[in-house]
């Protein structure tokens, strides 16, 4: 406890007690203990680099966010909390925002963090590389004084939207003095990133682990609680289970172990499973209908096929209950924009058959028509979903040619060549629907060769208009109403069937305290985690 002054300790303990409400453990009774090493993993592979400026998927996001911080963060209660920014205020017309930065923050190399860094990030990193679509209206960024930045926009920008971008995956703050004048994407420093975060990279052993040490000059004195953080990678989920059982892993995010193992591991009471902390990166499994095919230009056909799929069966059998049937395009964990007032497609084979008959596709010679079904092979469950959907369609006398290609081939067939009739894919959306959710439906989401966008080719001016309005609507209740309009229209038009909302699980030992407290916990700095041992 020598590292703290008494006052600081009381302050941080109070903060932790507040946060631990979300964990709901006995942690509130005792104060956080500093020190110790936390060994963590996640349900995927090693990152290609510790920091990938363009995004790079969940793996580098996991490793880079322990070093790079953002201006804000979003709690599980969906409130924005200050991190590097103390305050972000819109002007009256919402065309500019004033950002007040935290004082006395230093980079890991000792240089001070200032407004220039934020200006550099906004104009040279976020807008051109990481958040281009979201920040297309950004016109300029200007440092008014060393701790104040003003962002100016071409059009009104809703407050929740901008804060979501700044608190999101693409809003990492990187040092100007290291990146200025270099190619950010290929700068070698990305393998040993330097940030303002609570942890410094000590060593990355490729193929094995990355080791972080406590940043002793972190701006929040007393934090982080841990002395050391180790992120390890196993390619094999069964081995991760074994590592938990042997006590060699403390925490694993995003489904680190096979779902059937969860009950066995948590039974002894030493390990818990937690589903909080994923609402800002909510995953769904979808079926997408290629509108370039004549047959899917008919809305009735798309709707009929939606009736043919038993989503409850998929949740219960393929995901062992750790997924829920989707209601519309918005993930059910999105407590701001979610709505139940959408067109539902209950499982009804007879109705599906009747709809197909009416649409002009009766059974002829034992088959209505032939479909090529591509199930993207990046999740194990997609293989099973592909087999199930094939069976479900065949029950309607549709001939199905199923293929489950590997990751690279799936990306090419679905998003570059549009070489499919029906595709099973996955996407993860943030709480803010623009652009991560809307771009699957809007016309400007159609970009050949760009993955996880509108691959169906669906285009509807009415839907585009709703999204366009939502982009500039600054009054929150009106935005929510527009989001509901969007979801309703998308569900009636049915270019995509959101099948199930996935519920990722974090596995942790019970003595790991204060985890899963933010809306995208995997991508937080983990400064407040502590070990009760």
């Amino acid at each position: 406890m020598s590292r703290f002054s008494r006052r600081e300790f009381l302050m941080t303990a109070a903060g932790a007690a507040l946060a631990s409400r979300f964990v709901g453990s006995a942690a509130a009774a005792t104060g956080p203990k500093p020190g110790g090493t936390l060994t963590a993993t996640w349900g995927g592979f090693e990152p290609q680099a510790l920091f990938v400026p363009g995004g790079g998927g969940s793996s580098p996001y996991f490793t880079s966010t322990k070093v790079h911080e953002r201006l804000l963060r979003l709690t599980v209660g969906l409130k924005f909390e200050p991190v590097l920014a103390l305050d972000i205020k819109p002007a009256e017309d919402f065309r500019s925002y004033t950002i007040k930065l935290r004082d006395k923050v230093t980079w890991h190399d000792g240089k001070p963090f200032t407004a220039d860094d934020v200006v550099f990030c906004a104009m040279d990193y976020w807008k051109p590389i990481s958040a281009g679509v979201s920040l297309s209206a950004l016109e300029s960024a200007e440092a008014v004084d060393p701790l104040t930045v003003v962002l100016k926009f071409k059009a009104p920008v809703p407050e929740f939207f901008l804060k979501s971008v700044l608190a999101g995956k693409s809003g990492l703050v990187i040092p100007k003095h290291i990146y200025a004048g270099s190619n950010i994407i290929t700068n070698p420093i990305n393998n040993t990133p330097v940030g303002t975060g609570p942890f410094k990279v000590k060593e990355w052993v490729r193929g094995s682990h990355v080791e972080y040490l406590r940043n002793d000059s972190y701006w929040n004195p007393g934090l982080p609680y841990l002395d050391r953080l180790v992120i390890r990678w196993w390619r094999d989920p069964a081995s991760r289970s074994a590592a938990f059982e042997a006590g060699q892993l403390d925490i694993g995010t995003f489904n680190p172990i096979p779902i059937p193992d969860i009950a066995r591991l948590t039974k002894a009471g030493k390990i818990v499973a937690e589903t909080k902390g994923y609402s800002n990166s909510a995953w769904v499994a979808t079926v997408e209908f290629n509108q370039r095919r004549e047959i899917f230009k008919k809305r009735e056909v798309r709707q009929a096929l939606m009736h043919a799929i038993d989503r409850q069966f998929i949740s219960d059998t393929i995901f062992f209950g750790s997924a829920r049937p989707s209601t519309g395009a918005v993930h059910s964990s999105n407590s701001i924009f979610f709505t139940k007032e959408v067109q539902d497609y209950p499982f009804d084979v007879k109705k599906a058959a009747a709809l197909l008959d009416a649409a002009g596709y009766p059974v002829k010679g034992g088959s209505r028509f032939k479909l090529s079904l591509v199930s993207a092979g990046w999740f194990e469950e997609n293989v099973k979903m592909g087999q199930y959907v094939k069976q479900a369609f065949e029950d309607l006398d549709i001939t199905v040619d199923l293929s489950v290609p590997d990751r690279a081939t799936s990306l090419k067939r679905i998003y570059t060549d549009y070489d499919y009739d029906v595709a099973i894919s996955n996407n993860s959306g943030s709480i803010e629907l623009i652009p991560s959710t809307t771009q699957y439906y809007t016309t400007d989401g159609i970009v050949k060769g760009a993955a996880f966008r509108n691959a169906t080719g669906y285009s509807n001016p009415k839907l585009d208009e709703i999204v366009a309005k939502m982009t500039v609507e600054t009054e929150e209740p009106k935005r929510i109403a527009l989001a509901k309009d969007f979801d309703r229209l998308a569900s009636i038009e049915a270019p995509i069937l959101p099948m199930v909302d996935l519920e990722p699980v974090t596995i942790a030992r019970t003595d790991v305290r204060n985890h899963s407290t933010t809306a995208d916990f995997m991508g937080e700095s983990w400064a407040e985690i502590w070990l009760d041992r």
Binding site: T39, G54, G57, G132, H209, Q248, A408, Y415
Partner: protein, 322 residues
Amino acid sequence: MRRIVVRRLAQIIPLIFAVIVLNFVLIHLAPGSLFDVMTSEQQVTDPAMLDQLRHTYGVDQPTWLQLAKYIWAVMRLDLGFSYRQNAPVLHVIMEQLPATAILMLAATTIALLVGITAGVLASVKVNTIWDNLISFGAVFFFAAPSFWLGIMMTVLFAVKLGWFPVGGMRTIGADHGAFADALDVMNHLVLPATALGLFYAATYARVMRASMLEVFRLDFVRTARAKGLSSSRVILAHVMRNALLPIVTLLGLQLGTMLGGSVVIEAVFSWPGIGSLLFDSVMSRNFPMVLGVLVLGSLLVAVCNATVDLLYMRLDPRIRVR
């Protein structure tokens, strides 16, 4: 001897060339490209940015030009730059190759020691309970998939008994000098090397047993016995030395497949070798990395095979004459 070494080295060059061309073509035949994977991971949608990246990764050039450039680079000992890892290919491979080399070396040693001992034992005690037990064990370890064996060994020795670590190569963060470090690595090595080695030990045991029994029947063994040598001397100096040749042949052939087997073992034990690197690179169509691993891997195998050839001559001096 020197002529053989020189000839062997000369053969490596066309081999490497063939490895490059063949694998380059194969990778380009697979649908999907590094570009697809990288842009999807980076969530790039801006068409201008897509074009810029196409140029950066060099995928806007015709395939034959990419191949020609690659061969020219390899001739200058440059394996290229991996955009996915954001580092030079050689640098990334060299970070992970030693771990695989250690694993393969240890697995081979275990395979040879266990396999030869078991084979000799089975042949000496032929048609006894020992012979049957060894034959059963050999069939079992030959049939059991190495990832299953790895997981079972982890469950027993790491989870239940707690004798060995579940994975990794070193105790992370421990810094206690070279000797303790070597012990630490060996401790981590036991399970993966055994899981990988037992499969090969099974083959060696079977081959060794058969080849021992064959040599036992030959005239010179009867002569050796007749001149009054002790039975252990006959077995070790006369029979075993002659029975070893097929094992050495097998060893040379299996070094290549062992590299493949280590991919699975590295996945199970989170061993930081090039196996997972190769797997990832194939999945992401990262051809500079795939080619780099294969070029270095084939070099390694070629060198090992040349060594095996030299071993032949040591074991059977008649081979030198031919």
